[in-house]
Symmetry: C2
Subunit: 205 residues, 2 copies
């Protein structure tokens, strides 16, 4: 068996291949780390053209993580499972999702909204500063609504809902808000993409 | 706000769009359910050509799930987080991953192998019948090795490691083994893809 068994070497070699195949770009060194990790996670070079990293967003995210002691909200449990716990714990930060809570399911049913939306409402009411989206356009619209109503004031958002109904539009609309954000334009995105973006940021610290 | 708030309607509309855009194919009705859910999860129509569903694999998987009382092993915690718990519990099945266990980390370090490989060794020694791969080519090679040594006898495998080092080759090599399997050919795959395949199967029951 001559397959590589060293995870660090596998990752280094992967990143080398990605850089050699991705062609010309104008990313900064830190942006490139995010782009490469997303391509590493998806094997999809299209993300090179889909990732939108707002100016100042990386600094905003790193400041929040470095400040520490914060709660990050994710719209899926796959994201909470995927984000590097070791690094988060070292920063005294945690990532939560309410999307599968019994209480949230009940509220969603009563209000006739998605559980994803009900989860965002709860997180916003708790003053969460970082929101991560890898699944639900409805949740992203709900956050936009809450921001416009002055009921949420996130300091960093990763918006990568994936899909065919509302996903692309929800991200386009969300980009009109003037806050630090990283988005994935178009239909693509997903929990692994969102996770890769956040882990790339955490590994910069 | 006129975005759709009914998750069931969002999914139905998504599947309708996918079917209308995916063009000609020769999938059976059940195969199509898997293909559509993977495209739904990735917004990537390339999966239409990358998914390999071995003859008999769907029947094999459904029989195992219906039998119930089984443990499924996944190579990432994102997969265990993503698989529908409601359906699994109703079937008295569970899905586990050892990849972040302290014990496994220790064994991996001692042996100079990846944690993913050490996790597979443990699962195989416990007689696990279903293995899911969304991340690690090394883990898939390890399972192949154990099968060839008679130390593992899985009855259904989803092989969708993603990446640039070994991923495509590991899946090509694994396909040479004569067991029920669903694979994603080439570099693409990932935890969300593996999860979509398994959830599509679970929703058939």
């Amino acid at each position: 068996m001559d397959y590589i068994k060293n995870p660090k070497k596998i990752e280094e070699e992967s990143f080398r291949i990605i850089e050699s195949e991705m062609g010309q770009h104008s990313f900064t060194e830190r942006e490139l780390k995010i782009v490469k990790r997303v391509i590493h996670t998806t094997a999809d070079f299209e993300y090179k053209d889909l990732l939108y990293i707002r100016e100042g967003a990386i600094d905003a995210a790193l400041s929040l993580f470095e400040k520490g002691g914060i709660t990050i909200y994710a719209d899926t449990n796959m994201i909470t499972a995927g984000i590097s716990k070791k690094v988060l714990e070292a920063l005294n930060c945690k990532v939560v999702s309410y999307v599968r809570d019994e209480e949230i399911a009940k509220i969603a049913k009563e209000k006739g909204i998605t559980r994803s939306m009900a989860g965002i409402e709860k997180a916003a009411s708790e003053g969460v500063e970082i929101f991560l989206f890898g699944n639900a356009p409805t949740a992203l619209y709900k956050l936009k609504e809450l921001i416009e109503e002055g009921k949420a004031c996130p300091k960093f958002v990763v918006a990568a809902p994936v899909g065919f109904v509302g996903a692309a539009q929800s991200k386009e609309d969300f980009e009109k808000i003037d806050i630090p954000m990283i988005t994935v334009r178009g239909r693509k995105g997903g929990s692994t993409v969102t996770t890769a973006i956040v882990n790339a940021l955490l590994y910069m610290l």
